[in-house]
Amino acid sequence: MADKQTYAPGSHPDLPPPPGTIGIVGWLRTNLFSSVNNTILSLITIYFLYWLIQSVAGWFVLDAVVDASSRAECREIDSGACWAVITKRIGQFVYGFYPHAERWRPNVAFVLLFVAVAPLLYPKTPMRRQLLWFSAAYPFVAYFLICGGILGLPEVGTNTFGGFMLTMIVGVTGISASLPLGIALSLGRQSRLLSVRVISIAFIEFMRGVPLITLLFVASTMLNYFLPPGTTFNLLLRVLIMVTFFASAYIAEVIRGGIQAIPKGQYEAADAMGLNYWQTTRLVTLPQALKISIPGIVNTFIGLYKDTTLVVVIGLLDPLGIGRAALADAKWNGLSTETYLFVALFFFVSCFAMSRYSLWLENRLSTEHK
């Protein structure tokens, strides 16, 4: 330390950090090669990843067949995956049996979904106020677009819905309807009015205590007994209601946990300032409770989204159902790996997106609150 520089007290300048502690080199050093053990583990992992990608890439991409008219034809062309089972039936995977000529309608509805959802999910959306009106109108817009029956749009029966379109319809409706219902139930469960409390608790406990699959069967058969004779009640609608009820019970419990984590002093401060129950709930309780509950809520949403595959048991053809139908075809027999991987990939992408969004939201809210 011969050349150690000294400064008068109070005049020490800001110096750059020592070399190799920042930038890519710094990152590699701290994260992958910080110690002998870390270095060994990193090398093993890197080798494993290399081996995995190299052996799987061949099957997935390099040796794969995208265009063929049967499994046998695939095998003649190459030895890898036979994606032809997907490409030949991609229309069914996406739309089910929705009429070809009308498929632009769900497409438009899908694009509009992003317009409707953006102002809700992302507060900095341009023209957020005006767009929120569209968000409120979106359920009706989407309903009439997809089902038709007005403005010269031919009517399309819900029994033709299938594939990813069906998943999106059940998933998005279930998610957006179960959140408000879940909030209402969680408040109801803690209401001072005994009757409201009893009804909320009974509803939550019943919905949570029964497997979704039985609710779906109930939806497809039992509801007819309860309703006046002659009313036909669309099967898809029944499924939507059941899925929403089921998820809202879970949401209610997640939010209740969040509400209970709020210190008593928050209510006392709100009371002392003269805020009434609804103002306190809206301005003080819920914003804090929802923020705490984000991971649990998104967890429930992801569960709901994946549970939409259960509709296959009552005869609705979600992507899994379409896949099974494809596999039952003698031409494509035996391609279950490709089919299920494809469906799995679709679900993974959707669920991963939800998970990332929730992380982003948590981060944004937590920096605000620090």
């Binding site: 210190p263 002093g265 928050q266 006392e268 401060a269 009371d271 002392a272 300032m273 003269g274 805020l275 009434n276 103002q279 301005l283 003080v284 914003p287 804090q288 923020k291 809210l365 605000e368 609150h369 620090k370």
Partner: protein, 252 residues
């Protein structure tokens, strides 16, 4: 009685009031009159019911017997406009109880906007005035979690003042603070007292009591044991329990 209980208007009138927590008789036969502009300090050992008493005044706690009148309105369970009475009675808590998800400014404007129906702009201007009064206007856009304890408590005071209350209740406002922050909060409270605000303060800060109070009330076991102007109270306490308490608290 106390020097400024004068002939002025009685704003809080508590008569023969009792309160129980289940079987536990926490407040016994409380009688208390507070005049407009009067500054009252309440002290007493832990568990003597000081917090409970002042929380009864804005009905955060419900009493079972006797009566409490605020500006002539009796607090009872069939009271329709409890919120209106509460908005006239500000309260500052030991643990601040700021809303962590709102900025300092939003904390201050929340109740004026929603309870007083004040336009947002006006509420913000007023909030900035009060934040300046408690000497932290520059923190307006921070979140409570980014402030020191003393700053948070001053925000809490500003937040209460934004409702333009007629009476202010303080429940040990400095007990959760480090010594160097106690002074900044007490200074704000002294300035507030100088504006003529009616104040009921639960505190063990005897210097504050000496300087500001018109009357000091000593409670023990749920009863008001003794009350007097600060000078007499500190120099010539009558009751043995008061003497014991004062000797303990002034010892260190």
């Amino acid at each position: 009685m106390a020097k400024s209980a004068k002939q002025s208007e009685i704003v809080v009138k508590i008569e023969d009031m009792h309160k129980w927590y289940g079987q536990f008789h926490v407040l016994k036969d409380i009688n208390l009159e507070v005049a407009q502009g009067e500054r009252i300090v309440i002290c007493g050992p832990s568990g003597s019911g000081k917090s409970t008493l002042i929380r009864c005044i804005n009905r955060l706690e419900v009493h079972q017997e006797g009566s409490i009148n605020i500006y002539g309105t009796e607090l009872s369970s069939d009271l329709k406009n409890l919120e209106l009475i509460r908005s006239d009675v500000g309260m500052v808590f030991q643990s601040f109880n700021l809303f962590p998800h709102l900025t300092v400014l939003e904390n201050c404007t929340l109740a004026p906007i929603w309870v007083r129906k004040m336009p947002k702009r006006e509420a913000e201007e007023m909030a900035m005035e009060y934040l300046a009064r408690v000497k932290i206007p520059e923190q307006a856009n921070k979140y409570p979690g980014q402030l020191s304890g003393g700053q948070q408590q001053r925000v809490a005071i500003a937040r209460s003042l934004c409702m333009q209350p007629k009476i202010m209740l303080f429940d040990e406002p400095t007990s959760a603070l480090d010594p160097e922050m106690i002074k900044e909060v007490l200074d704000v409270m002294i300035e507030l007292a100088d504006t003529g605000m009616t104040m009921l303060v639960v505190t063990h800060e005897m210097g504050f009591a000496n300087k500001v109070a018109d009357r000091v009330i000593f409670m023990d076991g749920g009863e008001i044991i003794e009350q007097n102007d600060p000078k007499t109270f500190f120099t010539k306490p009558k009751n043995d329990r008061t003497k014991l308490f004062l000797s303990q608290i002034l010892d260190h």
